[in-house]
Symmetry: C2
Subunit: 362 residues, 2 copies
Amino acid sequence: MRKHIFNAGPAVLPVPVLEKVSKAVIDLDGIGISILEISHRSKEFDAIINEAIELMKELMNIPEGYHVIFVGGGASTQFAMLPMNFLKTKASYLETGSWAKKAEKEAKLFGEVQIVASSADKNFTYIPKNFTIPTDVDYFHITTNNTIYGTEIKTDFNSPVPLVADMSSDFYSRPVDVSKYSLIYGGAQKNVGPSGVTIAIIKDDFLNSKQVTDRIIPTMLNYKTHTEANSLYNTPPVYAIFVVKEVMRWLKTEIGGLENMKKINEDKAKVLNDYLDNSKMFIPTVPNKEDRSLMNITFVMQDPYKDLEAAFLDHSKKYGIVGIKGHRSVGGFRASMYNALPIDSVKVLVQAMEEFEKANLK
Amino acid sequence: MRKHIFNAGPAVLPVPVLEKVSKAVIDLDGIGISILEISHRSKEFDAIINEAIELMKELMNIPEGYHVIFVGGGASTQFAMLPMNFLKTKASYLETGSWAKKAEKEAKLFGEVQIVASSADKNFTYIPKNFTIPTDVDYFHITTNNTIYGTEIKTDFNSPVPLVADMSSDFYSRPVDVSKYSLIYGGAQKNVGPSGVTIAIIKDDFLNSKQVTDRIIPTMLNYKTHTEANSLYNTPPVYAIFVVKEVMRWLKTEIGGLENMKKINEDKAKVLNDYLDNSKMFIPTVPNKEDRSLMNITFVMQDPYKDLEAAFLDHSKKYGIVGIKGHRSVGGFRASMYNALPIDSVKVLVQAMEEFEKANLK
């Protein structure tokens, strides 16, 4: 019996993709070799990585003049690669959560970091508004979705300086105007694939004209190594890229693109948000509805039910629900509802909440 | 029909492992979640990574006082991480091939690099002997197996300074006296798993007392980040680690450990080497038998048959043989015979060679 998978990442993947990529582990398209055994220099892998890149470009409408690269090490490695390659004197960061803070920490190793705005004062339960992006910095960095806190930046900013975004937990969940960004990066393990591969979408112009020239950059940490070698400077994570390709195919053919995906994600979020906004037991942790993430909805139990959280977790297991325990820095619950989560899973969660509320309401 | 897979890496994996890890992509041990979907903070993954580490320690008899870590970015990232963490003033390298040279190149970014000995004069067709490891360097680096050139260092050196080895293409193919090494690293994609994960075996004492203190090391490039977090500082490549665990189980239960594995690999190499040493058409590129790799056997056609190489490649395909085209810097052929390659595949290759030789001998 397949569970209702609300994991924050690695996360739920589409069942038809799982079936396809499971078969390929035995034999890739009948060639007599497993996907785990093919050479990264083979014509089979060439076709896989090129299709993955083409579909990523097509689905997010990436303009000419951008490269899509696959690297290892997670977004956490990007936190350092970004300033190592582009921070000459000063960079600005929007501080919307602990991942943003980790990105700042690495940047501080290489130069001055200016926090343009922060929502730390209210435990990151909102997206700062009405800030001004400085014009004297090398780039402006944002974290579009804050998995832990359940907030999301849904607008593509007009930035006077190169705009860089960690989109680990919401890219390919909705359309994005890539032309406004100089660099977008993210781990694959939320909406686009399994863990083990990190994707960067980088503007050639930014890379060619804004890269630092007076700092030692190890070969593997230089974006140019990967753009120039089509991510094949060394052996890439073949299987993870193969799964990404299949997820992109699913997004295109089964879902019909990112506009449709966004509508589906909005429908899913509405099911849970509608319930939360009327519940007398559960309360969302992000008060401002426009700041609420479509990907991760965080909620806690309100007084006088706080001590029922463990009981509700137990209750939810009877429904086959997994992954809803909240991050320790927020507490309560987090329902991560990435692309591949069926709306039926959300309905089952709401049913579990309704029944629990009914049985326990004072 | 399964092929005879002589790929240089990513490479052949054991069929029972492929069957197990294929099933887990649909459902991990009946828990209703795919291995690609489980959280890296789950009890399921805890059990997986800990078993992988324990088996790696047990099989290679790793003494107390060492950590086994899983990171991304391939051995190419280790080429830079090593000097970034440990090269204070000078390091020495044994130059046995192009991977060794790539490791040197990254080290030169951080300090002085001394080439203790090199076999570049004869296109790396031998392992240098009778060199002295200097005593005034931060570490001595070797590349134990040189995939491209078909040579292998089969002794564990007594080094007066910390010994560091890139064992990407031969670790877990034979017993190694780990106590002689301060750091062993390697990509998984030859003998221990699929591409997408890099393994480092690091001596705590080396890490705690010899790490540089006056250099900026990004968090993800600091070995301590990974030893202290049991490779869970950020999301690791879950699937690749899972496959490594299954390969280790296979090594232990099906093969019976590294002594047995070594014997099997010697038997396989003997089948091909015996033929090569008697052939009038094919000739091994490594003249000195003791320098020949058990993992990759490289050979070319001798005069007057040089122009038959393409014809033999075609001929070999009829037998279901893949991956034997030699690297462009050596030419001819390379038969990579990693742990999981059955001896029958080697016999089929020799049969193909014998039949071709018989039909074409002048």
